[in-house]
């Protein structure tokens, strides 16, 4: 029996922790349905069958940190009808983009055995610095509900329904008490894009910005509030410099406090 032709899905890895692609395997209730709806053509973490391109949808995890990877992403782009980045590494450079802020000449004072064995670039950059990206899914890690929405949208030729407003709006809808206003807990919710379900405030913790900056954030206003709560300049630098340190709004705001 000839199977009807299904959209072909590929999952690619660059510098990353594997957590975002693991999120697809963590869709325990949906995984087999996804595998019915699309042909999982290339997903080495899950399958030893690695089919040649072209692919209808490529999900790309991780950031570009080597010259070889900068080449590889171009080839993947050529092979892919749609290319979607999944997670903070692919979308903003990830935690490893902290190297972008370091004085390179100071950093290179290597203290270990054979620095000549290592090949790496001075920066960790998002995929969109290298090729055209059709959609960027945020999060460190991504939300698996949003992942299913994105796959479903692209195989059905529609735009994903993913909000770009702040965590605050999600937090209000979840009915959480505002940790910033009520408890004076530093929280990046006002400048961070929604998608996690306002997880941290639900655990009495301030948002730490793992979904990256929301559309048009007012980070200076938030920083003034955080400073009034007692955060020092070095702390303000660090609070914006985590998993989305290289995202424009967070990078610029952290630099203002150096």
């Amino acid at each position: 029996m000839n199977e009807p032709s299904r959209p072909r899905l590929a999952v690619w890895k660059f510098a990353s922790c594997d957590g975002c692609q693991l999120s697809l395997l963590d869709c325990e209730d949906e995984l087999l349905a996804v595998a019915d709806a699309v042909e999982i053509a290339y997903f080495p973490e899950a399958s030893s069958r690695m089919a040649e391109g072209p692919y209808d949808l490529s999900l790309v995890e991780g950031s570009v940190t080597t010259a070889h990877d900068a080449e590889r992403i171009r080839e993947i782009r050529r092979q892919s009808r749609f290319l979607v980045t999944i997670g903070a590494c692919a979308t903003a450079g990830g935690i490893q983009a902290l190297r972008n802020f370091v004085d390179v000449d100071g950093f290179i004072q290597a203290v270990y055995a054979h620095p000549d064995y290592i090949r790496t670039l001075a920066t960790s950059t998002p995929i969109s610095d290298h090729v055209r990206v059709d959609f960027e899914l945020r999060g460190c890690p991504i939300d698996k509900g949003q992942l299913i929405e994105v796959i479903s949208a692209f195989v059905n030729d529609r735009r994903p329904n993913v909000a770009t407003h702040s965590v605050c709006e999600e937090c209000k809808r979840a009915g959480h008490v505002c940790v910033l206003v009520a408890h004076g807990t530093p929280c990046l919710g006002p400048v961070t894009q929604a998608g996690c379900g306002a997880l941290c405030p639900g655990y009495h913790r301030g948002c730490y910005g793992c979904f990256g900056p929301k559309e048009a954030p007012n980070a200076p206003a938030l920083s003034a509030r955080l400073a009034a709560l007692g955060m020092s300049s070095p702390e303000l630098v660090r609070v914006y410099r985590t998993f989305n340190a290289n995202a424009d709004a967070f990078r610029e705001e952290s630099a203002r406090h150096e």
């Binding site: 087999l32 999982i40 399958s47 990830g94 935690i95 290179i108 290597a110 290592i118 997880l199 985590t242």
Partner: protein
């Protein structure tokens, strides 16, 4: 492949069904293995370098990003190391909650490996999705069992990958009794499914192979180890974790971006389920130990292909332990023990699903990290994997290339290698664009 007696190379450019990016290179001359390299080409991410200058409170969340499969291991080892610096001990219900979420990580990680990464090798499938076409019930059970582990991660931690509710000193918010009680029915189902899993995997066809391993794991006076214990080995090591660096040292080799660990005699050691089992069999629950006995594991299992059985036994244990903790749970008065900034050096070692995850930090009086060292279990196991491959290839040279390559890949998966984790460097050499 070349004629018998000549040179023959086996190369696998990208090993599938492992976490991260690795390749395999084996060269034989006649009936001898001349070279055997598990090449890890995952680009280094320099965690130890980027941790310098960060606050002690940030280490758990930052190091969690080393690995999306075992974030709890990193969060726990970092937290314990920082508590060690400050001389703080986290006990009571908070300690139990830490064990409980660690149970969740073992369950989801082990079940992922058993059914989705390793079982396809034994049954001759490329992946679990293809297996589901012929054995839908097996794969559905696997997914539900994995989800039961993840339910603990979600409930206590907030999400499966990089949970948000853990911190140095404990948690941000302790779960209520009702939140944990709601998980019990599914965990009870999962315990039955885990026993069925042991029954399934013990019947697989295992290659006839054993090695004389030095097993290394934590050992605790009363418990099967998660967070605490002494660093012990079947080679006679028995020291506190603060002496880890005396026991294992790391070497930097050309073919891999992971540093390789070896013991004082320069020999590789094995960490992970087989090591924990060999050193802590007497600490298993009676039911888990009975499952191990029924599966014929004996006092210690030295066939690495049977590690899939040991993992299944550990899933039984983790579910029983989770149910015990939930049934006895009384929410703590405070979600966290205060841990202030302290100058000093601290050590943490906990049992990740793949073996010991070791952290060492030096902090200043403001709690800023001045030095960090992290060793993932896969970078310890890497040398042992290469030793297994050498020993396995020579007696199997009669196999054709395809079959020999498949056997080698399966032997690598025996270790559930987490290549993303194992890649770590203190500093880097840069290629300027």
């Amino acid at each position: 492949m070349s004629d018998a007696g000549g040179t023959r190379t086996i190369e696998v450019d990208y090993i599938a069904r492992v976490e991260g990016e690795g390749a395999l290179y084996i060269r034989t001359e006649g009936d001898r293995v001349e070279d055997c390299q598990l090449r890890i080409f995952e680009p280094p991410r320099f965690f130890e370098g980027l941790l310098r200058g960060r606050a002690y409170t940030e280490a758990p969340d930052i190091t969690a990003r080393i690995c999306g499969i075992c974030p709890i291991a990193y969060i726990m080892s970092a937290s314990h190391a920082m508590e060690d610096v400050a001389g703080v001990r986290v006990g009571g219900a908070l300690r139990e909650l830490r064990r409980l979420i660690y149970c969740g990580e073992w369950i989801e990680s082990h079940v992922l490996h058993i059914y989705m990464l390793h079982l396809p090798d034994f049954l001759g499938y490329p992946d679990a999705v293809t297996l589901a076409k012929d054995r839908p019930e097996t794969v559905r059970r696997a997914l539900r069992l994995k989800k039961a582990g993840n339910s603990l991660m979600r409930c206590i931690g907030g999400r499966e990958v990089h949970p948000v509710n853990l911190r140095v000193g404990g948690f941000y918010r302790a779960p209520s009794r009702a939140e944990l009680d709601a998980l019990v029915p599914e965990l009870e189902w999962a315990l039955g499914a885990a026993l069925e899993t042991v029954a399934l995997v013990q019947t697989l066809d295992f290659p006839d192979f054993e090695a004389d391993y030095e097993f290394m794991a934590l050992r605790h006076p009363e418990e099967y180890p998660f967070n605490e214990g002494r660093l012990c080995s079947t080679g006679g090591v028995d020291v506190p974790v603060s002496r880890y660096d005396e026991v294992l040292s790391e070497a930097h080799l050309a073919h891999t971006t992971a540093l390789q660990s070896r013991n004082a005699e320069g020999q590789p050691v094995m960490m992970g389920p087989m090591a924990r089992y060999a050193l802590n069999r007497d600490r298993l629950t009676p039911r888990a130990r009975r499952a191990a006995d029924d599966a014929g594991l004996g006092e210690a299992c030295r066939n690495p292909f049977r590690s899939i059985v040991v993992r299944a036994v550990e899933v039984v244990f983790a579910l029983e332990e989770a149910l015990r903790i939930i049934r006895a749970y009384e929410p703590p008065a405070d979600a966290c023990v205060p841990v202030g900034p302290t100058a000093g050096t601290g050590y943490g070692a906990t049992e990740a699903p793949r073996g010991i995850c070791y952290h060492r930090y030096r902090t200043d009086g403001d709690g800023i990290i001045r030095d960090a060292k992290i060793v993932a279990p896969t970078s310890v196991n890497q040398a042992r994997i290469e030793a297994d491959l050498r020993a396995l290839v020579e007696p199997n040279l009669a196999l054709d290339d395809t079959a020999l390559q498949a056997l080698c890949e399966q032997a690598i998966r025996n270790y559930d290698p987490c290549i993303s984790c194992s890649t770590h460097f203190l500093d880097l050499r840069l290629e300027r664009r």
